[in-house]
Protein backbone atom coordinates (compact mmCIF):
# COMPACT_ATOMS: atom_id res chain seq x y z
CA UNK A 1 0.00 0.00 0.00
CA UNK A 2 1.09 3.56 -0.56
CA UNK A 3 1.52 4.10 3.15
CA UNK A 4 3.58 7.01 4.42
CA UNK A 5 7.10 6.36 5.62
CA UNK A 6 7.52 6.83 9.34
CA UNK A 7 10.35 9.29 8.92
CA UNK A 8 9.07 11.08 5.80
CA UNK A 9 12.04 9.58 3.90
CA UNK A 10 11.95 10.21 0.15
CA UNK A 11 12.14 7.28 -2.27
CA UNK A 12 13.09 6.93 -5.88
CA UNK A 13 11.06 4.69 -8.21
CA UNK A 14 12.37 3.47 -11.57
CA UNK A 15 10.43 1.80 -14.39
CA UNK A 16 12.91 0.73 -17.05
CA UNK A 17 11.64 -0.72 -20.32
CA UNK A 18 12.75 -1.37 -23.86
CA UNK A 19 12.05 2.12 -25.17
CA UNK A 20 12.44 4.40 -22.15
CA UNK A 21 13.24 4.63 -18.46
CA UNK A 22 10.97 6.60 -16.11
CA UNK A 23 12.02 7.83 -12.68
CA UNK A 24 9.93 9.38 -9.93
CA UNK A 25 10.85 10.93 -6.59
CA UNK A 26 8.19 10.66 -3.87
CA UNK A 27 8.08 12.15 -0.43
CA UNK A 28 7.21 10.17 2.68
CA UNK A 29 3.69 11.61 2.57
CA UNK A 30 3.17 10.40 -1.02
CA UNK A 31 3.70 13.62 -2.87
CA UNK A 32 5.36 13.41 -6.28
CA UNK A 33 8.40 15.66 -5.94
CA UNK A 34 9.86 15.16 -9.40
CA UNK A 35 10.02 12.94 -12.47
CA UNK A 36 12.57 12.16 -15.18
CA UNK A 37 12.70 10.18 -18.40
CA UNK A 38 15.77 8.73 -20.11
CA UNK A 39 16.48 6.19 -22.86
CA UNK A 40 16.02 2.41 -23.09
CA UNK A 41 16.77 0.37 -19.97
CA UNK A 42 16.21 -3.28 -20.88
CA UNK A 43 19.56 -4.92 -20.05
CA UNK A 44 18.78 -7.69 -22.54
CA UNK A 45 19.40 -5.13 -25.27
CA UNK A 46 22.49 -3.62 -23.64
CA UNK A 47 23.74 -3.58 -20.07
CA UNK A 48 25.64 -0.27 -20.28
CA UNK A 49 22.71 1.49 -21.95
CA UNK A 50 20.38 0.18 -19.24
CA UNK A 51 22.41 1.35 -16.25
CA UNK A 52 23.13 4.69 -17.94
CA UNK A 53 19.41 5.25 -18.49
CA UNK A 54 18.58 4.34 -14.89
CA UNK A 55 21.13 6.81 -13.52
CA UNK A 56 20.22 9.54 -16.00
CA UNK A 57 16.48 9.30 -15.34
CA UNK A 58 17.16 9.28 -11.58
CA UNK A 59 19.30 12.42 -11.80
CA UNK A 60 16.69 14.15 -13.96
CA UNK A 61 13.97 13.35 -11.43
CA UNK A 62 16.09 14.75 -8.59
CA UNK A 63 16.77 17.89 -10.59
CA UNK A 64 13.04 18.20 -11.28
CA UNK A 65 12.46 17.89 -7.52
CA UNK A 66 15.03 20.61 -6.78
CA UNK A 67 17.29 18.10 -5.04
CA UNK A 68 21.04 18.10 -5.69
CA UNK A 69 22.17 14.98 -7.55
CA UNK A 70 24.83 14.41 -4.91
CA UNK A 71 21.90 13.21 -2.76
CA UNK A 72 21.56 10.08 -4.93
CA UNK A 73 23.74 8.18 -2.44
CA UNK A 74 21.30 8.97 0.38
CA UNK A 75 18.15 7.75 -1.38
CA UNK A 76 16.59 4.28 -1.45
CA UNK A 77 15.56 3.24 -4.96
CA UNK A 78 13.02 0.71 -6.15
CA UNK A 79 14.10 -0.39 -9.62
CA UNK A 80 11.75 -2.32 -11.89
CA UNK A 81 13.33 -3.49 -15.10
CA UNK A 82 12.31 -5.35 -18.22
CA UNK A 83 14.57 -8.29 -18.97
CA UNK A 84 15.47 -9.20 -15.38
CA UNK A 85 12.93 -12.03 -15.37
CA UNK A 86 15.93 -13.80 -16.94
CA UNK A 87 17.96 -14.96 -13.92
CA UNK A 88 21.31 -14.17 -15.55
CA UNK A 89 20.29 -10.52 -16.03
CA UNK A 90 18.74 -10.20 -12.57
CA UNK A 91 22.07 -11.34 -11.13
CA UNK A 92 24.08 -8.99 -13.31
CA UNK A 93 22.04 -5.91 -12.38
CA UNK A 94 22.03 -6.97 -8.70
CA UNK A 95 25.84 -6.90 -8.74
CA UNK A 96 25.91 -3.42 -10.30
CA UNK A 97 27.74 -0.84 -8.16
CA UNK A 98 24.70 1.45 -8.25
CA UNK A 99 24.84 5.05 -6.98
CA UNK A 100 21.87 4.73 -4.57
CA UNK A 101 21.82 4.26 -0.80
CA UNK A 102 20.09 0.92 -1.37
CA UNK A 103 18.58 -0.60 -4.51
CA UNK A 104 15.64 -3.01 -4.49
CA UNK A 105 15.45 -4.73 -7.85
CA UNK A 106 12.30 -6.29 -9.32
CA UNK A 107 10.93 -7.21 -12.72
CA UNK A 108 8.94 -4.62 -14.62
CA UNK A 109 6.03 -7.06 -14.28
CA UNK A 110 6.07 -7.07 -10.48
CA UNK A 111 6.27 -3.29 -10.13
CA UNK A 112 3.52 -2.84 -12.72
CA UNK A 113 1.31 -5.21 -10.74
CA UNK A 114 2.16 -3.59 -7.41
CA UNK A 115 1.45 -0.16 -8.89
CA UNK A 116 -1.81 -1.14 -10.55
CA UNK A 117 -3.15 -2.65 -7.32
CA UNK A 118 -1.57 -0.21 -4.83
CA UNK A 119 0.65 -2.90 -3.35
CA UNK A 120 -2.12 -5.44 -2.91
CA UNK A 121 -2.40 -8.83 -4.62
CA UNK A 122 -3.68 -8.75 -8.17
CA UNK A 123 -2.99 -9.44 -11.83
CA UNK A 124 -2.00 -7.32 -14.79
CA UNK A 125 -1.83 -7.81 -18.51
CA UNK A 126 0.68 -5.58 -20.23
CA UNK A 127 0.25 -4.80 -23.93
CA UNK A 128 2.72 -2.24 -25.17
CA UNK A 129 5.68 -2.90 -27.43
CA UNK A 130 5.73 -6.36 -25.82
CA UNK A 131 3.03 -8.39 -24.11
CA UNK A 132 2.66 -10.54 -21.02
CA UNK A 133 0.52 -11.45 -18.09
CA UNK A 134 1.52 -11.42 -14.44
CA UNK A 135 -0.17 -12.14 -11.14
CA UNK A 136 1.00 -11.86 -7.58
CA UNK A 137 -1.20 -13.72 -5.12
CA UNK A 138 -0.30 -14.89 -1.60
CA UNK A 139 3.37 -14.24 -2.21
CA UNK A 140 3.45 -16.22 -5.46
CA UNK A 141 4.45 -14.53 -8.70
CA UNK A 142 3.08 -16.14 -11.86
CA UNK A 143 4.09 -15.16 -15.39
CA UNK A 144 2.40 -15.89 -18.72
CA UNK A 145 4.37 -14.82 -21.78
CA UNK A 146 7.02 -12.10 -21.48
CA UNK A 147 9.02 -14.11 -23.98
CA UNK A 148 10.16 -11.34 -26.29
CA UNK A 149 10.13 -10.61 -29.99
CA UNK A 150 9.77 -12.19 -32.55
CA UNK A 151 9.22 -15.64 -30.95
CA UNK A 152 6.73 -14.47 -28.31
CA UNK A 153 4.80 -11.36 -27.23
CA UNK A 154 1.71 -12.26 -29.20
CA UNK A 155 -0.96 -9.54 -29.05
CA UNK A 156 1.70 -6.86 -28.45
CA UNK A 157 2.33 -3.75 -30.52
CA UNK A 158 5.36 -5.42 -32.11
CA UNK A 159 3.31 -8.53 -32.90
CA UNK A 160 0.51 -6.51 -34.55
CA UNK A 161 3.09 -4.56 -36.54
CA UNK A 162 4.86 -7.75 -37.63
CA UNK A 163 1.57 -9.20 -38.86
CA UNK A 164 0.94 -5.99 -40.81
CA UNK A 165 4.37 -6.20 -42.47
CA UNK A 166 3.98 -9.91 -43.25
CA UNK A 167 0.53 -9.49 -44.77
CA UNK A 168 1.57 -6.43 -46.77
CA UNK A 169 4.53 -8.33 -48.24
CA UNK A 170 2.42 -11.40 -49.10
CA UNK A 171 -0.13 -9.15 -50.75
CA UNK A 172 2.47 -7.12 -52.68
CA UNK A 173 3.78 -10.49 -53.95
CA UNK A 174 0.30 -11.31 -55.21
CA UNK A 175 -0.07 -14.30 -52.87
CA UNK A 176 -3.07 -12.90 -50.97
CA UNK A 177 -5.67 -10.29 -51.92
CA UNK A 178 -4.94 -6.62 -51.14
CA UNK A 179 -6.05 -5.24 -47.79
CA UNK A 180 -6.36 -1.76 -46.30
CA UNK A 181 -3.21 -2.65 -44.37
CA UNK A 182 -1.01 -2.39 -47.49
CA UNK A 183 -1.45 1.29 -48.23
CA UNK A 184 -1.31 2.22 -44.58
CA UNK A 185 2.00 0.38 -44.10
CA UNK A 186 3.54 1.94 -47.21
CA UNK A 187 2.28 5.41 -46.21
CA UNK A 188 3.46 5.16 -42.60
CA UNK A 189 6.95 4.05 -43.61
CA UNK A 190 7.02 6.39 -46.62
CA UNK A 191 7.97 3.66 -49.12
CA UNK A 192 6.45 2.87 -52.51
CA UNK A 193 6.83 -0.91 -52.99
CA UNK A 194 7.93 -4.19 -51.46
CA UNK A 195 11.62 -3.67 -52.26
CA UNK A 196 11.67 -0.35 -50.39
CA UNK A 197 9.54 -1.85 -47.62
CA UNK A 198 12.00 -4.71 -47.07
CA UNK A 199 14.90 -2.27 -47.09
CA UNK A 200 13.29 -0.19 -44.34
CA UNK A 201 12.21 -3.18 -42.24
CA UNK A 202 15.44 -5.23 -42.41
CA UNK A 203 16.92 -5.91 -39.00
CA UNK A 204 14.57 -3.61 -37.12
CA UNK A 205 13.77 -4.18 -33.42
CA UNK A 206 10.40 -4.67 -31.74
CA UNK A 207 9.86 -0.94 -31.14
CA UNK A 208 9.96 -0.30 -34.90
CA UNK A 209 7.27 -2.90 -35.59
CA UNK A 210 5.14 -1.56 -32.75
CA UNK A 211 4.72 1.69 -34.72
CA UNK A 212 2.59 -0.28 -37.19
CA UNK A 213 0.14 -1.63 -34.59
CA UNK A 214 -2.34 1.25 -34.74
CA UNK A 215 -2.86 0.89 -38.48
CA UNK A 216 -4.00 -2.70 -38.00
CA UNK A 217 -6.66 -1.54 -35.52
CA UNK A 218 -7.59 1.35 -37.83
CA UNK A 219 -8.02 -1.08 -40.75
CA UNK A 220 -10.07 -3.47 -38.62
CA UNK A 221 -12.33 -0.65 -37.48
CA UNK A 222 -12.84 0.26 -41.15
CA UNK A 223 -14.05 -3.30 -41.72
CA UNK A 224 -10.98 -4.82 -43.42
CA UNK A 225 -11.35 -8.61 -43.13
CA UNK A 226 -7.64 -9.38 -42.94
CA UNK A 227 -7.11 -6.76 -40.24
CA UNK A 228 -10.14 -8.09 -38.36
CA UNK A 229 -8.58 -11.58 -38.38
CA UNK A 230 -5.31 -10.22 -37.00
CA UNK A 231 -7.01 -8.16 -34.31
CA UNK A 232 -9.22 -11.09 -33.28
CA UNK A 233 -6.20 -13.40 -33.07
CA UNK A 234 -4.10 -10.95 -31.04
CA UNK A 235 -6.95 -9.95 -28.73
CA UNK A 236 -7.94 -13.62 -28.41
CA UNK A 237 -4.47 -14.38 -27.11
CA UNK A 238 -4.68 -11.58 -24.51
CA UNK A 239 -8.11 -12.87 -23.39
CA UNK A 240 -6.56 -16.33 -23.11
CA UNK A 241 -3.74 -14.92 -20.98
CA UNK A 242 -6.35 -13.22 -18.75
CA UNK A 243 -8.11 -16.54 -18.22
CA UNK A 244 -4.85 -18.21 -17.24
CA UNK A 245 -4.17 -15.43 -14.72
CA UNK A 246 -7.69 -15.62 -13.28
CA UNK A 247 -7.04 -19.28 -12.37
CA UNK A 248 -4.64 -17.88 -9.74
CA UNK A 249 -7.65 -16.09 -8.14
CA UNK A 250 -6.22 -12.54 -8.08
CA UNK A 251 -8.58 -10.10 -6.25
CA UNK A 252 -8.41 -7.77 -9.27
CA UNK A 253 -7.06 -7.70 -12.80
CA UNK A 254 -6.00 -4.68 -14.88
CA UNK A 255 -4.85 -4.02 -18.43
CA UNK A 256 -1.94 -1.61 -18.87
CA UNK A 257 0.53 -0.51 -21.55
CA UNK A 258 0.42 1.65 -24.65
CA UNK A 259 -1.96 -0.60 -26.58
CA UNK A 260 -4.60 -0.73 -23.83
CA UNK A 261 -7.19 1.57 -25.38
CA UNK A 262 -6.93 -0.11 -28.80
CA UNK A 263 -7.10 -3.74 -27.73
CA UNK A 264 -9.52 -3.54 -24.80
CA UNK A 265 -12.71 -3.34 -26.94
CA UNK A 266 -11.68 -6.57 -28.72
CA UNK A 267 -11.18 -8.69 -25.61
CA UNK A 268 -13.79 -11.26 -24.59
CA UNK A 269 -16.75 -9.45 -23.01
CA UNK A 270 -16.42 -11.31 -19.70
CA UNK A 271 -12.76 -10.26 -19.49
CA UNK A 272 -13.55 -6.62 -20.32
CA UNK A 273 -16.14 -6.56 -17.54
CA UNK A 274 -13.65 -7.78 -14.95
CA UNK A 275 -10.91 -5.26 -15.75
CA UNK A 276 -10.31 -2.50 -13.20
CA UNK A 277 -8.47 0.75 -13.84
CA UNK A 278 -4.86 0.58 -12.62
CA UNK A 279 -4.40 2.67 -9.46
CA UNK A 280 -0.80 3.84 -10.00
CA UNK A 281 1.69 3.67 -12.87
CA UNK A 282 4.62 1.20 -12.66
CA UNK A 283 7.19 3.76 -11.46
CA UNK A 284 5.06 4.39 -8.38
CA UNK A 285 4.87 0.61 -8.09
CA UNK A 286 8.67 0.71 -7.75
CA UNK A 287 8.39 3.18 -4.86
CA UNK A 288 5.76 1.00 -3.15
CA UNK A 289 7.95 -2.07 -3.70
CA UNK A 290 10.99 -0.37 -2.15
CA UNK A 291 8.94 0.76 0.85
CA UNK A 292 7.59 -2.78 1.30
CA UNK A 293 11.13 -4.15 1.25
CA UNK A 294 12.33 -1.56 3.77
CA UNK A 295 9.35 -2.35 6.01
CA UNK A 296 10.36 -6.02 5.99
CA UNK A 297 13.76 -5.18 7.50
Amino acid sequence: MLCSSDNNEIFLGIDGGGSKCKAIVMSGDNQILGTGIAGPANPLHGYEQAINSIVESAKLSLKDAGIDESELGNIVAGVGLAGVNLPVLFEKISKWKHPFKTMYLATDLLIACIGAHDGKDGAVMITGTGSCGFSFVDGHPYIVGAHGFPHGDKGSGAWFGLQAAKQALLSLDGLIPPSLINDKVLALLDVKDDVELVEVIAGKPAAFYARMANLVFDSAEEGDELALDIVREGAGYISHVAKQLLKQNPPNIALIGGLTSRIKPWLDKDIQEQLIEPIHPPEIGSVIFARQQVALL
Copy 2:
Protein backbone atom coordinates in the same frame (compact mmCIF):
# COMPACT_ATOMS: atom_id res chain seq x y z
CA MET B 1 25.11 -22.55 -71.00
CA LEU B 2 28.29 -23.98 -69.58
CA CYS B 3 30.12 -23.43 -72.88
CA SER B 4 33.90 -23.42 -73.00
CA SER B 5 35.72 -20.11 -73.14
CA ASP B 6 37.48 -19.47 -76.42
CA ASN B 7 40.81 -18.87 -74.77
CA ASN B 8 40.50 -21.45 -71.99
CA GLU B 9 40.40 -18.57 -69.48
CA ILE B 10 39.68 -19.61 -65.90
CA PHE B 11 36.77 -18.04 -64.02
CA LEU B 12 35.94 -17.64 -60.37
CA GLY B 13 32.37 -18.19 -59.14
CA ILE B 14 31.14 -16.95 -55.77
CA ASP B 15 27.90 -17.85 -53.97
CA GLY B 16 27.65 -15.70 -50.85
CA GLY B 17 24.80 -16.28 -48.39
CA GLY B 18 23.84 -15.56 -44.81
CA SER B 19 25.76 -18.45 -43.29
CA LYS B 20 28.66 -19.09 -45.65
CA CYS B 21 30.40 -18.05 -48.85
CA LYS B 22 31.37 -20.66 -51.46
CA ALA B 23 33.94 -20.07 -54.17
CA ILE B 24 34.83 -22.22 -57.16
CA VAL B 25 37.57 -21.95 -59.80
CA MET B 26 36.71 -23.41 -63.19
CA SER B 27 38.86 -23.90 -66.26
CA GLY B 28 37.79 -22.86 -69.73
CA ASP B 29 36.92 -26.49 -70.50
CA ASN B 30 34.60 -26.69 -67.49
CA GLN B 31 36.82 -28.56 -65.08
CA ILE B 32 36.53 -27.67 -61.41
CA LEU B 33 40.06 -26.65 -60.43
CA GLY B 34 39.42 -25.75 -56.82
CA THR B 35 36.86 -24.75 -54.21
CA GLY B 36 36.85 -22.71 -51.01
CA ILE B 37 34.41 -21.90 -48.23
CA ALA B 38 34.49 -18.90 -45.89
CA GLY B 39 32.08 -17.20 -43.47
CA PRO B 40 28.81 -15.25 -43.96
CA ALA B 41 28.61 -12.94 -46.96
CA ASN B 42 25.20 -11.27 -46.84
CA PRO B 43 26.07 -7.54 -46.84
CA LEU B 44 22.73 -6.80 -45.16
CA HIS B 45 24.22 -8.33 -42.02
CA GLY B 46 27.60 -6.61 -42.38
CA TYR B 47 29.42 -5.14 -45.34
CA GLU B 48 32.96 -5.74 -44.04
CA GLN B 49 32.18 -9.34 -43.12
CA ALA B 50 30.70 -9.93 -46.57
CA ILE B 51 33.64 -8.62 -48.59
CA ASN B 52 36.11 -10.37 -46.28
CA SER B 53 34.30 -13.68 -46.82
CA ILE B 54 34.24 -13.21 -50.59
CA VAL B 55 37.99 -12.55 -50.72
CA GLU B 56 38.82 -15.31 -48.25
CA SER B 57 36.76 -17.95 -50.08
CA ALA B 58 38.28 -16.83 -53.40
CA LYS B 59 41.83 -17.14 -52.06
CA LEU B 60 41.05 -20.57 -50.58
CA SER B 61 39.68 -21.77 -53.92
CA LEU B 62 42.82 -20.56 -55.71
CA LYS B 63 45.00 -22.30 -53.14
CA ASP B 64 42.95 -25.47 -53.60
CA ALA B 65 43.55 -25.14 -57.36
CA GLY B 66 47.29 -24.72 -56.84
CA ILE B 67 47.17 -21.16 -58.17
CA ASP B 68 49.05 -18.37 -56.39
CA GLU B 69 46.67 -15.85 -54.77
CA SER B 70 48.52 -13.03 -56.52
CA GLU B 71 46.66 -14.22 -59.64
CA LEU B 72 43.37 -12.89 -58.17
CA GLY B 73 43.88 -9.66 -60.12
CA ASN B 74 44.00 -11.59 -63.41
CA ILE B 75 40.77 -13.55 -62.93
CA VAL B 76 37.20 -12.64 -63.86
CA ALA B 77 34.75 -13.32 -61.02
CA GLY B 78 31.01 -13.91 -61.08
CA VAL B 79 29.71 -12.94 -57.64
CA GLY B 80 26.21 -13.92 -56.52
CA LEU B 81 25.21 -12.45 -53.18
CA ALA B 82 22.26 -12.58 -50.86
CA GLY B 83 21.01 -9.14 -49.90
CA VAL B 84 21.92 -7.34 -53.13
CA ASN B 85 18.31 -7.56 -54.34
CA LEU B 86 18.14 -4.38 -52.22
CA PRO B 87 19.30 -1.63 -54.60
CA VAL B 88 21.28 0.21 -51.93
CA LEU B 89 23.38 -2.90 -51.25
CA PHE B 90 23.82 -3.75 -54.93
CA GLU B 91 25.23 -0.27 -55.42
CA LYS B 92 27.50 -0.49 -52.39
CA ILE B 93 29.02 -3.82 -53.45
CA SER B 94 29.32 -2.60 -57.05
CA LYS B 95 31.49 0.28 -55.83
CA TRP B 96 33.72 -2.05 -53.82
CA LYS B 97 37.39 -1.90 -54.88
CA HIS B 98 37.45 -5.68 -55.38
CA PRO B 99 40.69 -7.59 -56.00
CA PHE B 100 39.53 -9.32 -59.22
CA LYS B 101 40.28 -8.47 -62.84
CA THR B 102 36.57 -7.85 -63.36
CA MET B 103 33.59 -8.55 -61.11
CA TYR B 104 30.11 -9.33 -62.40
CA LEU B 105 27.64 -8.96 -59.54
CA ALA B 106 24.24 -10.64 -59.37
CA THR B 107 21.73 -11.65 -56.74
CA ASP B 108 22.05 -15.09 -55.16
CA LEU B 109 18.65 -15.76 -56.75
CA LEU B 110 19.81 -15.15 -60.30
CA ILE B 111 22.97 -17.27 -60.01
CA ALA B 112 20.98 -20.06 -58.34
CA CYS B 113 18.52 -20.00 -61.25
CA ILE B 114 21.27 -19.82 -63.87
CA GLY B 115 23.08 -22.71 -62.18
CA ALA B 116 19.99 -24.88 -61.76
CA HIS B 117 19.07 -24.51 -65.45
CA ASP B 118 22.60 -24.41 -66.93
CA GLY B 119 22.21 -20.81 -68.04
CA LYS B 120 18.83 -21.31 -69.69
CA ASP B 121 15.55 -19.70 -68.68
CA GLY B 122 13.80 -21.26 -65.70
CA ALA B 123 12.53 -20.86 -62.17
CA VAL B 124 13.81 -21.87 -58.75
CA MET B 125 12.40 -21.99 -55.28
CA ILE B 126 14.99 -21.70 -52.55
CA THR B 127 14.22 -23.08 -49.10
CA GLY B 128 17.21 -22.93 -46.79
CA THR B 129 17.65 -20.58 -43.86
CA GLY B 130 15.49 -18.17 -45.89
CA SER B 131 12.95 -18.75 -48.62
CA CYS B 132 12.03 -17.24 -51.95
CA GLY B 133 11.03 -17.87 -55.52
CA PHE B 134 12.72 -16.57 -58.63
CA SER B 135 12.24 -16.94 -62.35
CA PHE B 136 14.19 -15.66 -65.32
CA VAL B 137 12.28 -15.84 -68.58
CA ASP B 138 12.97 -13.89 -71.80
CA GLY B 139 15.33 -11.56 -69.99
CA HIS B 140 12.85 -10.75 -67.23
CA PRO B 141 13.72 -11.51 -63.61
CA TYR B 142 10.74 -12.06 -61.30
CA ILE B 143 10.98 -12.42 -57.53
CA VAL B 144 8.46 -13.77 -55.03
CA GLY B 145 9.43 -13.38 -51.38
CA ALA B 146 13.12 -12.98 -50.43
CA HIS B 147 11.91 -10.57 -47.77
CA GLY B 148 13.99 -11.73 -44.84
CA PHE B 149 13.40 -12.78 -41.25
CA PRO B 150 11.19 -12.47 -39.21
CA HIS B 151 8.73 -10.53 -41.38
CA GLY B 152 9.03 -12.76 -44.47
CA ASP B 153 10.70 -16.00 -45.59
CA LYS B 154 7.67 -18.14 -44.83
CA GLY B 155 8.33 -21.84 -45.36
CA SER B 156 12.07 -21.36 -44.72
CA GLY B 157 14.19 -23.11 -42.10
CA ALA B 158 14.10 -19.99 -39.93
CA TRP B 159 10.33 -19.76 -40.30
CA PHE B 160 9.83 -23.41 -39.28
CA GLY B 161 12.17 -22.92 -36.32
CA LEU B 162 10.36 -19.75 -35.24
CA GLN B 163 7.02 -21.59 -35.31
CA ALA B 164 8.57 -24.35 -33.18
CA ALA B 165 9.81 -21.83 -30.62
CA LYS B 166 6.48 -19.95 -30.54
CA GLN B 167 4.42 -23.11 -30.11
CA ALA B 168 6.76 -24.50 -27.44
CA LEU B 169 6.49 -21.26 -25.45
CA LEU B 170 2.69 -21.11 -25.76
CA SER B 171 2.50 -24.71 -24.63
CA LEU B 172 4.92 -24.28 -21.71
CA ASP B 173 2.66 -21.37 -20.63
CA GLY B 174 -0.32 -23.74 -20.62
CA LEU B 175 -2.09 -21.83 -23.40
CA ILE B 176 -2.10 -24.71 -25.90
CA PRO B 177 -1.82 -28.49 -25.40
CA PRO B 178 1.66 -30.06 -25.35
CA SER B 179 3.12 -31.25 -28.64
CA LEU B 180 6.08 -33.43 -29.59
CA ILE B 181 7.74 -30.16 -30.59
CA ASN B 182 8.22 -29.10 -26.95
CA ASP B 183 10.58 -31.82 -25.82
CA LYS B 184 12.50 -31.72 -29.08
CA VAL B 185 13.07 -27.96 -28.80
CA LEU B 186 14.19 -28.21 -25.17
CA ALA B 187 16.48 -31.16 -25.98
CA LEU B 188 18.04 -29.55 -29.06
CA LEU B 189 18.81 -26.33 -27.21
CA ASP B 190 19.74 -28.16 -24.00
CA VAL B 191 17.40 -26.14 -21.78
CA LYS B 192 14.91 -27.33 -19.18
CA ASP B 193 12.06 -24.79 -19.16
CA ASP B 194 10.60 -21.68 -20.76
CA VAL B 195 12.82 -19.28 -18.79
CA GLU B 196 15.97 -21.00 -20.04
CA LEU B 197 14.48 -21.30 -23.52
CA VAL B 198 13.81 -17.56 -23.73
CA GLU B 199 17.30 -16.84 -22.44
CA VAL B 200 18.85 -18.94 -25.22
CA ILE B 201 16.57 -17.59 -27.97
CA ALA B 202 16.74 -13.87 -27.14
CA GLY B 203 18.07 -11.78 -30.00
CA LYS B 204 19.11 -14.73 -32.15
CA PRO B 205 19.34 -14.45 -35.96
CA ALA B 206 17.59 -16.49 -38.63
CA ALA B 207 20.35 -19.12 -38.80
CA PHE B 208 19.76 -20.01 -35.14
CA TYR B 209 16.04 -20.59 -35.69
CA ALA B 210 16.75 -22.63 -38.81
CA ARG B 211 18.44 -25.24 -36.61
CA MET B 212 14.97 -26.06 -35.23
CA ALA B 213 13.37 -26.72 -38.63
CA ASN B 214 14.15 -30.43 -38.80
CA LEU B 215 12.45 -31.18 -35.50
CA VAL B 216 9.19 -29.77 -36.84
CA PHE B 217 9.36 -32.17 -39.80
CA ASP B 218 10.38 -35.02 -37.46
CA SER B 219 7.37 -34.29 -35.23
CA ALA B 220 5.02 -34.07 -38.22
CA GLU B 221 6.28 -37.39 -39.54
CA GLU B 222 5.58 -38.89 -36.11
CA GLY B 223 1.98 -37.71 -36.49
CA ASP B 224 2.02 -34.67 -34.19
CA GLU B 225 -1.03 -32.58 -35.14
CA LEU B 226 0.50 -29.20 -34.30
CA ALA B 227 3.64 -30.00 -36.30
CA LEU B 228 1.51 -31.23 -39.18
CA ASP B 229 -0.34 -27.89 -39.20
CA ILE B 230 2.96 -25.98 -39.32
CA VAL B 231 4.44 -28.17 -42.06
CA ARG B 232 1.24 -27.91 -44.13
CA GLU B 233 1.20 -24.12 -43.75
CA GLY B 234 4.89 -23.71 -44.67
CA ALA B 235 4.78 -26.16 -47.56
CA GLY B 236 1.48 -24.64 -48.72
CA TYR B 237 3.22 -21.29 -49.00
CA ILE B 238 6.06 -22.78 -51.09
CA SER B 239 3.50 -24.47 -53.36
CA HIS B 240 1.78 -21.10 -53.68
CA VAL B 241 5.09 -19.46 -54.63
CA ALA B 242 5.64 -22.18 -57.26
CA LYS B 243 2.24 -21.43 -58.79
CA GLN B 244 3.08 -17.73 -58.98
CA LEU B 245 6.38 -18.54 -60.71
CA LEU B 246 4.70 -20.92 -63.18
CA LYS B 247 2.52 -18.02 -64.37
CA GLN B 248 5.74 -16.64 -65.92
CA ASN B 249 5.93 -19.81 -68.07
CA PRO B 250 9.47 -20.90 -67.17
CA PRO B 251 10.61 -23.94 -69.22
CA ASN B 252 11.59 -25.70 -65.97
CA ILE B 253 11.31 -25.23 -62.23
CA ALA B 254 13.60 -26.60 -59.50
CA LEU B 255 13.65 -26.65 -55.70
CA ILE B 256 17.03 -25.96 -54.04
CA GLY B 257 18.43 -25.15 -50.61
CA GLY B 258 19.08 -27.03 -47.39
CA LEU B 259 15.43 -27.77 -46.64
CA THR B 260 14.70 -29.31 -50.06
CA SER B 261 14.57 -32.97 -49.03
CA ARG B 262 12.36 -32.25 -46.01
CA ILE B 263 9.80 -29.97 -47.61
CA LYS B 264 9.50 -31.53 -51.08
CA PRO B 265 7.21 -34.44 -50.01
CA TRP B 266 4.76 -31.91 -48.50
CA LEU B 267 4.35 -29.74 -51.59
CA ASP B 268 1.21 -30.03 -53.73
CA LYS B 269 1.45 -33.20 -55.86
CA ASP B 270 1.21 -31.29 -59.15
CA ILE B 271 4.11 -29.08 -58.07
CA GLN B 272 6.23 -32.06 -56.98
CA GLU B 273 5.69 -33.68 -60.37
CA GLN B 274 6.93 -30.60 -62.23
CA LEU B 275 10.16 -30.17 -60.27
CA ILE B 276 13.37 -31.02 -62.06
CA GLU B 277 16.73 -31.69 -60.41
CA PRO B 278 18.99 -28.61 -60.49
CA ILE B 279 21.84 -29.09 -63.00
CA HIS B 280 24.58 -27.10 -61.22
CA PRO B 281 24.96 -25.51 -57.78
CA PRO B 282 24.74 -21.69 -57.47
CA GLU B 283 28.52 -21.09 -57.42
CA ILE B 284 28.76 -22.68 -60.87
CA GLY B 285 25.81 -20.45 -61.78
CA SER B 286 28.10 -17.51 -60.91
CA VAL B 287 30.73 -18.81 -63.34
CA ILE B 288 28.11 -19.22 -66.09
CA PHE B 289 26.79 -15.73 -65.35
CA ALA B 290 30.27 -14.19 -65.61
CA ARG B 291 30.92 -16.00 -68.91
CA GLN B 292 27.57 -14.80 -70.26
CA GLN B 293 28.47 -11.23 -69.33
CA VAL B 294 31.91 -11.52 -70.96
CA ALA B 295 30.32 -12.98 -74.09
CA LEU B 296 28.04 -9.92 -74.30
CA LEU B 297 31.02 -7.59 -74.53
